[in-house]
């Protein structure tokens, strides 16, 4: 199926708009008419939560598209370079230290765990780049990312075992959580998304060229190393911000670019924004599912994303074989 990119953009935006409307109508009692009866619930809770969930998903979708282009690997996802492991370690550390003075300072800042996750993600990515001695060698970069991921994950496990009171918050972080998102998260994620998208679009030609191979891209005279460093920073920014707000949401960053490619879009000029929009839609849909199916009990948002994403990837599988 081939779509005109512009038509597809409008369609996906309309879909996100519909989901947003649904998101403002689903709450602790399932579907209701709070939009008219209790507008404050909608403006204070459901609208910011839905928008921030969408923003989180969009950041992940964009990061996924960047990662897949940068590493020329369709299985690359935003967590590839250790960002997720770093963020988890940051959160675990913050939870363990919460009793101490430093922890109290952080809790008082109001950002608390978000800040810890963001710092952790950046530190892990920095470590990865350091270990791979720069960004120019892709396999070395990937390998360093895997190593950093494994080591930091082990450290996180160790910390969690040390203090079992951190088990539950850690679990909710690992499975992703959208339940406490508010306007401050919207104010952070949407402008960030706009900036990151703009900067990524400026590098879209390089991403297209990279698809032809590194040597070819170089022979086209593109400033490869500089662009690659920029894209890597964007990847870290997007995935770090998303993880800090919503925890380790699975699959969105992987599935969103694939969805867009399956619809016939291959140029990064379109792939980047469309991945963001579909990632946002996917996470918002998962958020709505997670608060609807067992209301007022909530499921971790990672469950529906993994289910939706897994089912989608599975549906793509047989067609791939038939070709």
């Amino acid at each position: 199926m081939r779509w005109q990119p512009l038509a597809l953009t409008l369609l996906l935006l309309a879909l996100s708009g519909g989901l947003l409307l649904l998101g403002t109508s689903v709450g602790a009692q399932g579907l209701d008419a709070a939009l008219w009866q209790a507008p404050s619930l909608v403006t204070e809770l459901r609208l910011p939560r839905s928008l921030a969930a969408w923003g989180c998903g969009a950041l992940l979708g964009l990061a996924g598209a960047i990662a897949q282009g940068l590493f020329r690997n369709p299985l690359a996802d935003p967590y590839l370079l250790g960002a997720s492991a770093g963020a988890s370690l940051g959160v675990a550390l913050a939870l363990v230290l919460a009793g101490s003075a430093g922890g109290a300072l952080m809790a008082g800042s109001g950002w608390g765990l978000n800040l810890a996750a963001f710092a952790g993600a950046w530190a892990a990515l920095g470590l990865t780049v350091l270990l791979s001695r720069g960004v120019s060698h892709t396999p070395r970069l990937l390998l360093a990312g895997v190593i950093v991921g494994v080591v930091l994950a082990a450290a996180t496990q160790g910390l969690t075992l040390l203090d079992p009171s951190t088990l539950r918050p850690m679990q909710s972080f690992m499975l992703g959580s959208t339940s406490l998102l508010g306007w401050s998260q919207v104010a952070l994620s949407l402008p960030l998304l706009a900036i990151a998208l703009l900067l990524a679009l400026m590098s879209s030609r390089t991403l297209d060229a990279l698809g032809l191979g590194e040597a070819t891209a170089r022979s086209l005279g593109l400033p490869l190393d500089g662009t690659r460093a920029l894209l890597l920073a964007l990847l870290a920014l997007c995935s770090g911000a998303a993880v800090a707000q919503c925890g380790l949401v699975a699959f969105v960053g992987l599935v969103a670019p694939h969805t867009v490619r399956a619809l016939g879009v291959s140029r990064y000029r379109w792939l980047l924004p469309l991945s963001a929009i579909s990632g946002g839609g996917l996470l918002l849909a998962a958020d709505i599912v997670s608060r609807w199916v067992a209301a007022p009990i909530e499921l971790p948002v990672g469950l529906p994303t993994a289910l939706l994403g897994g089912a989608y990837l599975l549906s793509r599988l047989p067609r791939g074989e038939a070709r």
Binding site: L41, E44, L45, P164, S177, R291
Partner: protein, 294 residues
């Protein structure tokens, strides 16, 4: 024929009764919370208990002197601090357990060690409590294990007196007020069906989380805001963040400063379903009394 049958039945029930009476010495089959049966030839003398609730319950019925090893988090009563610590709740040093030569290992059902320890030939029971009636059952189980079943009821009765005494300390203006008890900022709540929920009910507070939602459900924050609780009980760590959560500033408890921040030191008491539920009730009342009365 009928008389023979009734004779047989009478004989069988007499035999059952006498075996129950002789429970102190004879072999006894225990069924644990995983539905597994373990037959102990004699009351155990060297017990390893992994889990603070289990340790406290065993000690409450006078089994403390039979403990030879506990987990790292068990710290009550004080004498267990002198015992070998065998590890956390998930990872326990099997070698150390074996070296202690226990004749019974007590675990929680969530532990993954059950099968491995059973394979090593040690009798192992998985026991747990989430609700107040389950705490009573746990105490009974422990009392049977130490061969003094009557002690469980004495401990239980003492707990009831403590809870009632604590409840009497709470000013009556609090009675009937709605309460939200947050276990964890996920947010996980303590529902009516949990042991904390039962204590709150005895304090005549109205839990906003009905029993139908389970013992410790993870809730949509909107549910809490809609319920408009007059009192919120939350860990000290999370208390300062409540007002910053989207929409929470309007919750009556937050608006009127009726947020009870449980000190970390009380976390052990309030978080452990066991014989110290009376202490938990006292800690809750102490915390609530310090707030402006409604």
């Amino acid at each position: 024929m009928r008389t023979l049958l009734s004779h047989l039945l009478a004989w069988a029930s007499a035999a059952l009764l006498s075996s129950a009476a002789l429970a102190n010495t004879g072999p006894l089959t225990h069924t644990d919370d995983l539905g597994r049966q373990v037959t102990l030839r004699a009351p155990p003398q060297r017990i390893v208990a992994i889990g603070p609730s289990l340790v406290e319950s065993l000690c409450a019925v006078g089994g403390c002197d039979r403990l030879v090893g506990v987990d790292r988090f068990s710290n009550h009563p004080a004498m267990v601090n002198a015992l070998p610590k065998l590890g956390g709740l998930g990872e326990v040093s099997l070698e150390q357990v074996l070296r202690l030569k226990p004749d019974l290992v007590l675990l929680t059902p969530a532990s993954r060690l059950h099968d491995r320890i059973a394979q090593l030939g040690l009798p192992v029971l998985a026991l747990d409590a989430q609700s107040l009636p389950e705490v009573r059952r746990l105490l009974r189980h422990m009392a049977v294990l130490v061969g003094a079943p009557e002690r469980a009821e004495a401990v239980w009765a003492q707990m009831q007196r403590e809870i009632d005494a604590a409840a009497a300390e709470l000013p009556s203006s609090w009675h009937g007020r709605s309460v939200y008890f947050e276990v964890d900022p996920t947010p996980y709540a303590a529902g009516e069906a949990s042991f904390i929920g039962a204590v709150l009910a005895r304090l005549q507070l109205k839990n906003i989380v009905p029993a139908a939602l389970g013992t410790f459900p993870q809730l949509n924050p909107e549910f809490v805001i809609r319920a408009q609780p007059a009192l919120v009980i939350v860990g000290q760590r999370e208390a300062p963040n409540l007002a910053q959560r989207p929409g929470w500033a309007g919750v009556p408890a937050v608006r009127h400063g009726r947020v009870c921040a449980l000190p970390r030191a009380d976390g052990d008491v309030v978080g452990r379903p066991g014989p110290r539920v009376g202490d938990a009730a006292r800690a809750l009342v102490r915390c609530v009394r310090a707030l402006p009365p409604p």
